[in-house]
Symmetry: C2
Subunit: 332 residues, 2 copies
DNA sequence: CTGAAAGCGCTTACAG
DNA sequence: CTGAAAGCGCTTACAG
């Protein structure tokens, strides 16, 4: 392989292999048999291409083809079990289907989300999977205007089909698990506290709804001071609990592993009182099962969600409905 | 915004705005002032572009410019604190520098790594940051042949500059921390066990080397049965410890949070004997500080590593040397 | 079995 | 202040 500053093109290969650029192109993109080029020519071209370390210029190729096979994904974070797994599986599944995945991470910043969507469309993405976006409708709207399909994942929108976890059902089950374990292990029956998240967010409010239903089914009311949804950071969760001394048994429903971090920090500072606390978390982390007091976690079914998403790609008859995917409850 | 199946081009905008395609191009890529187009024309064009939901065709634009500003990154996993953080910060830092980041995740599969590198070069990436690759030299070799700069991150190679954590120094410090805490908290002095990783891997062997130096400095020898580097999975770590009943105090040096999962599983199954165990982990996880027996963790300095990497981009005078970046020791 | 030619959507040097 | 024209590297319908 030679060190060229200028990249090798099909014209370079054509002259080196004594063939026409058309022939080189056909050999290199695998259509040579269909175009009935001789195997001898094909092998000659491939050898030269190999020697020169040739790689096609995708920009030129896509421009001419007017077809990209690119499927884009917008994701808020990588540094997170859930979104990291989504991004990772998305790439693998796209490749397995012969598509080119391009993922970009937008930090929950509405402006960055929109810029990223525009960028992916600029790159001729044929479909955009919009994960956990703060304003999915703005993006699906823009996509529609450019004739690009979009699919919402994790957070619903009204402008495109939305694939979301069945947060309500899973929250209902998790709440029941925590209530049961409080009763079994501490002989205590009572309303749990809901910790973490923001009430204005779809996921938080849906989970809260499942949390409330589970209590209502047992004839329990939840008072406002039991809903501690002060944000997503570990700090905010630790802060809302700071003054809380569980002198009696108590139970917590923790919304997200980020909040769980704050809860565990609080819990581990309780000393002897920590034996009075049971909690469960709506989110999965492998270390979760080793945390004292943790009775179970909800794991969202990433594979099922993405499988559903891929099944909708390149179909134009998909109504902008919600598709609910059940979660998995992990019991410790 | 209208719903077009066919995407708007500068020619569409030109005829709608009553301007030439050249003028539209200049307005849309911001060079109109330099080209002394009238503000009136510019505003007319921008308004029409906005109305049509125009977004430039990057393929065409890059093809013509012969310059992409794309900087690629290959990363083994997203679903991992360390690599997730690398990918996330890489994107943010690239954007902040006016570059276009494209990250792809290659699952530690040598073939996939190579294909991904080829793909990124096909997309005209001008520089490739190769993170944790199993065969970095094959990739840097290929990049060099295409006139593309490459930089190794996390794992060193000989074909390109390599930015890596100072694993040896950090392992030395972590080993000392664990030894000290074993002595303080259990009154026990003795050689630690090294758990997890693969001896043939650069990172594992460098860390082992720091681990051994720290013991040697205290006049302790490590026998072979204290080196339990049976792989990276939680299962393999749990397996090598399965038979180990710590009837006496003991200490472990855990190589990676994945192995830590197995260690914690083993530890939490020990019952009363668990009080005889102290360990530390070379890798960072926010839940780590809550795990009983864990005395400290090493966090790699992602920001410093990436800052160094970006400082090398677009320089052609960089020798293929190693650049060591210190780690942070977190003490619990 | 094979090649010349047109054209994908842009950008920019050039001429006015 | 502005536009016509050439060309980036490919692909493919077409003609032989």
């Amino acid at each position: 392989m030679e060190k060229n500053k200028k990249k090798t093109t099909i014209y370079d290969i054509a002259s080196l292999a004594n063939a026409s650029p058309s022939a080189v192109s056909a050999v290199l993109n695998g259509t040579w048999e269909k175009r009935r080029l001789s195997r001898k020519l094909a092998e000659r071209v491939m050898r030269v291409a190999e020697e020169q370390g040739y790689s096609v210029n995708v920009q030129a190729s896509l421009l001419r083809r007017e077809r990209s096979n690119i499927v884009g994904m917008i994701v808020p974070k990588y540094d997170n079990r859930y979104f990291g797994e989504i991004a990772e599986q998305f790439e693998a599944m796209a490749r397995a289907r012969g598509m080119f995945p391009v993922v970009t991470c937008t930090q929950r910043d509405p402006q960055l989300e929109f810029e990223a969507a525009r960028e992916l469309i600029s790159y001729q993405a044929e479909c955009l999977i919009v994960t956990g976006a703060t304003d999915p409708d703005r993006i699906s709207n823009f996509c529609a205007g450019s004739g690009v399909q979009s699919i919402n994942l994790d957070l619903p929108g009204s402008g495109a089909p939305s694939i979301i976890s069945d947060n309500e059902a899973a929250a209902f089950d998790l709440t029941n698990l925590i209530l049961d374990r409080c009763q079994q292990e501490m002989g205590w029956i009572g309303p749990l506290r809901f910790v973490g998240g923001r009430l204005a967010d779809h996921n938080t409010s849906t989970r809260l709804s499942g949390f409330l239903s589970a209590h209502k089914a047992r004839g329990m009311e939840i008072s406002n001071d039991h809903v501690l949804a002060a944000g997503y950071s570990a700090e905010s969760a630790a802060r809302v609990l700071a003054e809380f001394q569980p002198n009696e048994p108590t139970g917590l429903f923790v919304n997200s592993t980020i909040s769980l971090e704050g809860v565990v920090r609080w819990h581990s500072g309780l000393g002897r009182l920590s034996k009075n606390v049971r909690y469960g978390c709506f989110d999965w982390d492998p270390f979760g099962s080793f945390l004292p007091g943790n009775v179970g976690m909800v794991e969202q079914d990433v594979t099922a969600m993405l499988t559903k998403a891929f099944s909708l790609i390149n179909r134009n008859d998909v109504p902008p409905e919600r598709y609910l995917v059940p979660c998995k409850l992990r019991v410790f």
